[in-house]
């Protein structure tokens, strides 16, 4: 059942894994940031990703705006969407038990999916082509699309910028304070609402970038396109250690590579491909409950 392969096929699969993993990484960062601050699994994150894709689609294909304008508008709109969701669906429940917040997140996710199906119909919409990105370059026996190289570069660049913001700026310090101890941070005069809103905005912005790159590589926009990536990226964030930005990137890459390499080496098991993410998740949760780079969480009585 294990398939032997040539070096070039193997390298090709590695490239596949790298680009998929970096996409997962970008989206996972958004999850991890929100969790770090609010201890909330934002189930709606995958659907924010989906809405960003639709914004971009409408900008270019329906309103005929030039692509760079659309991209900027998309990112801004998505950031507003994320902050808006926080304001309307999560902030009122901040004092409520955790379960209510989780249910609210599921509710928002549900609403966004149904809204998208109703507004945009269930048919796939074609994301515009970017030949500069997708025309493959053939090196040896390998085919490399420029977008496959751009994605990891963008992911690492954004990760570095984010780490800089978190570790070296005042805003970042405020975020770290809130994530370590919410109540004390409030007492110390940190404007909690602003910090949380900015966290959501940044996370959603990253999801938007992820959506744009995703659609360049897989140009089909569907209302339910965010469901499976959302779930997988959350798993990626947990694998790497939730609350930790580097962990999210690591988790995303691990997931991307595992998926592709499993398909490469065990082609008869490709039907089980989605199960890989869940299996890795469960293994990690059992043996390294805080993820690979996570810190031990102490629950105070």
């Amino acid at each position: 059942m294990v398939v032997g392969m040539t070096l070039s096929t193997f390298l090709q699969q590695l490239i596949n894994g790298l680009s998929l993993g970096s996409l997962y990484a970008l989206i996972a960062i958004g999850y991890t940031m929100v969790y770090g601050i609010l201890k909330l699994i934002n189930f709606a994150h995958g659907d924010i990703f989906m809405m960003a894709a639709y914004f971009a689609y409408f900008g270019i294909s329906v309103f005929f705006l030039p692509w760079y304008v659309t991209f900027i508008i998309t990112i801004i709109l998505t950031m507003l969407l994320g902050a808006g969701i926080e304001r309307m669906a999560y902030r009122p429940l901040r004092e409520a038990p955790k379960t209510s917040l989780l249910i609210s997140a599921i509710g928002v996710s549900f609403l966004l999916e149904n809204l998208a199906t109703y507004l945009f119909s269930g048919k796939p919409q074609a994301f515009p082509e970017f030949p500069a990105m997708t025309t493959p370059i053939f090196v040896g026996g390998l085919s490399i699309q420029p977008v496959s190289i751009v994605i990891p570069i963008v992911a690492f660049f954004l990760m570095t910028v984010l780490l800089f913001i978190i570790n070296k700026t005042k805003v970042g310090m405020a975020m770290r304070a809130v994530s370590v101890d919410y109540d004390t941070a409030k007492l110390m005069g940190i404007k909690i609402d602003n910090v949380i809103s900015s966290t959501f905005a940044i996370g959603s912005g990253l999801a938007a970038v992820g959506a744009l790159l995703w659609c360049m590589k897989y140009p089909s926009v569907l209302p339910l396109m965010g469901v499976v990536p959302g779930l997988k990226c959350f798993i990626a964030a947990v694998i790497g250690g939730i609350g930790n930005v580097k962990g999210a990137v690591l988790g995303g890459l691990i997931l991307g590579f595992s998926e592709v390499l499993m398909v490469a080496f065990f082609p008869s098991l490709t039907g089980y491909r989605d199960a890989v993410a869940f299996i890795i998740l469960i293994i990690i949760l059992l043996f390294l409950p805080n993820g690979i780079l996570g810190k031990k969480q102490v629950e105070k009585v």
Binding site: K39, L40, I41, M88, A89, P92, L93, A96, K98, T99, S100, L102, I103, S104, I106, G107, V108, F110, L111, E113, N114, L115, T117, Y118, L119, S121, G122, L231, F234, I235, V238, G271, Y272, D274, A275, A277, F278, I279, L281, I282, L285, L286, P289, E299, V301
Partner: protein, 368 residues
Amino acid sequence: MKNTQNSLGAYLKKHWKTVVFLVVVLIGIGIADQFVNSFMRRLLNLSAIYTIVALSMNLVNGFTGQFSLGQAGFMAIGAYTVAIFTVPVGLRSTIFYLAPMAPFLANIQLPFVVALILGGFLSAGVAFLIGSPCLRLRGDYLAIATLGFSEIIRIIFTNTQTITNGALGIKSIPTISSLWWTFGIALIVIIACFLLINSSYGRAFKSVREDEIAAEAMGVGLFKTKMTSFLISAFFTGIGGGLYAALLGTVDPKQFYFTLTYNFLLIIVLGGMGSISGTIIASFVVTLGQEALRFLDEPMAFGLDLPIFRPGLRMVVFSFLLMVVVLFYRKGLMGTNELTWNFIANKFRSIKSRFTKKAASAQGGDSK
């Protein structure tokens, strides 16, 4: 012996209202079974099945406070057990036309009840395997882990061609249409849950929900309690799944996507996560409501041709209602209260007093 008889008699006498109500309900089911048309029958059956699964979910999520999202997977196990074992042997080779059914299964045909209970036990068995590692996890992690297992179960069913017929699914399952099956089993589950909650087990569940650390300090075995609740829930969910398969007549893995679990989540949130009666009411409201709202999907002939009414609006309104409940009526319909006779009596009293208060103040009396 005389003592127990006395106490049973005394118990029935004390709760005579409930007994009368139950008898009325049973008569109602009998009448409905005779006269209701088959579309309404299908809806009622579906509501009853949803009640069973929602109650089991509420047992774990609402009463024990463990956020488990694995219902769809357990339903799938129950559904497939019934499907595999009740389809007549003669039809199996036509259904499994892509790859023949596994020989050790191909000739076993079980009566419906046996298959149903077997489904429940298999479901509980899998729950034991899943629960052992997962129940140790904290709230949100448990949610994702159980969701993950639910998906893994579904993916396995999609790929085991010889056992479950993979993506093709299994059809021609002998159907049940009598309301007695679903409502009967629902009643049994309701009574079982009620007895469970009011026993020492139930108190243990609630203590775990309120404060795990305190409960542990008081000697409640955390893991054992959670596991008990999880197993019972899985058992009933498996039975609910089996009934589901028998109602629809076909099963396939796509029906058990984790979004199915969201339906039950909606029901228990709407009904109130710590209330049995709330869940029952909510199941019926949601199932019947979804059908009642179907008109939103069709163009309305008001003389105007409003493009707002087209397919998909129904689900948007539905999710919107869910958000309203979650944000403004967080405790759901019943919160943690039960629909007891006292509750109803109090309600009537308060409504009556509100009317008399209004009448009194209208006559220009004092404001109190």
